[in-house]
């Protein structure tokens, strides 16, 4: 082993993707995607099914070769540098990849033996709530326990970078929070985290950088605050069938209002909701004898932005 393989480019970004292209036959799975993910930061890749998320991550992991563009992981080519990268990069696959008959304790013990300075398996089992199931065969663990074991396997070698493909898919709220604590801990410890997810709240809560991809291209990238912007909305509940056109006419220019679903009203503005808008809405309600219930002001969520940018149609 050359001394450089462990220490090569210590300041290189965790992942740097430039103009990545990947085709399967005539289908273009990734179409000129560029993305830069830092160390000590959580980068969330969001996108509808089939957007190219998993393909992109698997190219970074060295499982697939790019057809075009360049990918650097910790400064190295993920295929040519695979031997040097494998100890330094932790991977959690969507499909698990853990033998059905294996027991959590023995599985982590074996993985620990692959690494020079691993975490103690017992510590991971305890902190992830798996200590009581340490000797239960993998196939008899609950879905949430299986996911947490998979997560433990990804971090046991104390990696500099981890790829987590939908780490909280199918988890109950408690297990999700345990996973979020660990991911936040990775970030604090200076580990780069690349995360794909379908949960917008997860990205909003954890990510330093959110990259929305669709049709193999980067649609937009930014911090959650940049993406959700300042646009706001005002929601209330009242009897169904109010005259929303009349309401819009009473509001400042550029406002929109709609009823969706019946009895639930939302007023949207491109700027922050201000006192004048609130006054205008309540004045209109008073004038028309409408009692607005559950009246509240919200900012746009990442989910609103995502649906707006990706068209919102369901794909599988």
């Amino acid at each position: 082993m050359t001394p450089s393989s462990d220490t090569a480019l210590p300041d290189a970004p965790a992942v740097e993707i430039t103009g990545l292209v990947k085709r399967y036959g005539r289908t273009v799975a990734v179409d000129g995607l560029s993305l830069r993910a830092g160390r000590g930061a959580v980068t969330a890749i969001l996108g509808p099914n089939g957007a190219g998320k998993t393909t992109t991550v698997e190219i970074c992991e060295g499982y697939r070769r790019a057809d075009g563009g360049s990918v650097r992981v910790l400064g190295l080519d993920p295929v040519a540098g695979r031997r040097a990268l494998r100890p330094r990069v932790g991977v959690m696959l969507q499909a698990g990849g853990i033998p059905p008959a294996v027991r959590p304790a023995e599985y982590l013990q074996v993985l620990a033996r692959f690494h020079a300075r691993p975490l103690p398996p017992g510590l991971l089992l305890e902190r992830l709530g798996l200590a009581a199931s340490a000797r239960t065969p993998f196939k008899r663990l609950s879905g949430g326990q299986q996911q947490r074991l998979s997560l433990a396997a990804a971090v046991i070698g104390r990696p500099e970078l981890v790829f987590l493909d939908e780490p909280t898919a199918g988890l109950d709220p408690q297990a999700r929070h345990a996973t979020w604590d660990l991911i936040a801990g990775l970030r604090l410890a200076g580990v780069g985290v690349i995360l794909t997810t379908h949960h917008m709240d997860e990205a909003q809560r954890l990510a330093d950088l959110v990259a929305i991809v669709d049709h193999g291209q980067l649609v937009v990238a930014g911090t959650p605050a940049e993406l959700t912007g300042t646009a706001g909305q005002l929601r209330f509940r009242a009897e169904p069938g109010l005259d929303t056109d009349g309401l819009i006419a009473a509001l400042p220019a550029g406002s929109a209002a709609k009823e969706s679903p019946a009895g639930h009203y939302v007023v949207e503005v491109h700027d922050r909701v201000d006192p004048q808008l609130l006054a205008a809405v309540t004045a209109w309600c008073a004038e028309h004898g409408v009692l607005a219930q559950d009246l509240r002001i919200e900012s746009r969520t990442l989910e609103d932005v995502f649906l707006e940018l990706t068209g919102g149609e369901l794909r599988s």
């Binding site: 330094r88 059905p100 993985l111 033996r113 936040a184 801990g185």
Partner: protein
């Protein structure tokens, strides 16, 4: 640094951050291979069907056909033990390994291992270690059972050496075929085909039925199969005290080279 990240009981994120500080590095290759072989052996011992196939069936066949001489005339325990050792090698290196590897591929286990520091060569090494370990156990059981049944082999040091060489060559030949099958077929197809080939070679591999009972035209073909070559080689050394089993070793070496080369070219890891 340690004060800055000092964990507080009420701050799980900081507590994680303290233990998750990067300290990456691969373990030495022998340690990785030993750990993986240990895991493979444990999983194998936990699999009832595999134990039946590798440990129980060979011994049952040996005992049944040794005790009841009317089943196949003219084949005593001295004929049977070398054939049963060949069967044991075939069951472990070929059938058991093909099925286990096929399902590992299906469950994404091989893909997941590809993301650990264990290189592919190390994984093959671990699998081979496990196979040889099981074979040693099988051989011990078969030899003890055979001696109990009145087996009197030509047990010279040279014979023992040739037996070891034949078993290793047979293991390489069957392993190549097992990985060729497991790396290209679906797991269910591998399961069916590996069992079918096992039964077929049990019948025509010179395991229990002497190849001399087959039509003369068949015999060169059956001796050119890895099963026929291995059982014939073991039998010539242990029962007939022949020397260097050159032809049988050459057959096994050819199967090993061809099988491993083909498997290396065609193996799909996911």
């Amino acid at each position: 640094m340690s004060e800055a990240t000092a964990a507080r009981a009420d701050d799980p994120e900081a507590a994680w951050a303290q233990v998750l500080r990067p300290a990456a590095g691969a373990a030495p290759l022998p340690r990785m291979i030993a750990a993986q072989a240990w895991l493979e052996a444990r999983l194998l011992v936990r699999n009832g069907e595999q134990l039946l196939l590798t440990l129980l069936i060979p011994v049952l066949l040996l005992v049944a056909f040794s005790l009841d001489k009317s089943l196949i005339r003219g084949t005593g325990v001295n004929f049977l033990v070398p054939g049963i050792i060949a069967l044991a090698v075939m069951s472990t290196a070929f059938t058991s390994q093909a099925i286990a590897t096929g399902f590992e591929r299906r469950y994404g286990v091989l893909k997941r291992l590809g993301a650990t520091p264990l290189p592919r060569g190390g994984l093959i090494g671990a699998k081979s270690l496990t196979v040889v370990g099981v074979e040693v156990l099988q051989a011990a059981i078969i030899i003890v059972a055979g001696l109990g049944l009145g087996w009197r082999p030509h047990a010279t040091p040279a014979a023992a050496a040739w037996v070891v060489v034949l078993i290793l060559a047979g293991t390489a030949a069957f392993s190549g075929l097992a990985l060729l099958m497991a790396g290209t077929l679906r797991a269910e197809a591998t399961l069916a085909a590996a069992n079918l080939v096992y039964l077929l070679l049990l019948g025509v591999g010179g395991i229990i039925f002497p190849l001399s009972r087959f039509p003369a035209g068949w015999q060169p073909v059956l001796l050119a199969l890895p099963s026929g070559a291995l059982s014939d080689g073991l039998r010539s050394v242990l029962a007939h005290s022949s020397g260097f089993p050159a032809r049988d070793l050459l057959v096994l070496a050819c199967w090993a080279v061809a099988g491993i080369a083909l498997a290396a070219r065609t193996f799909r890891w996911d």
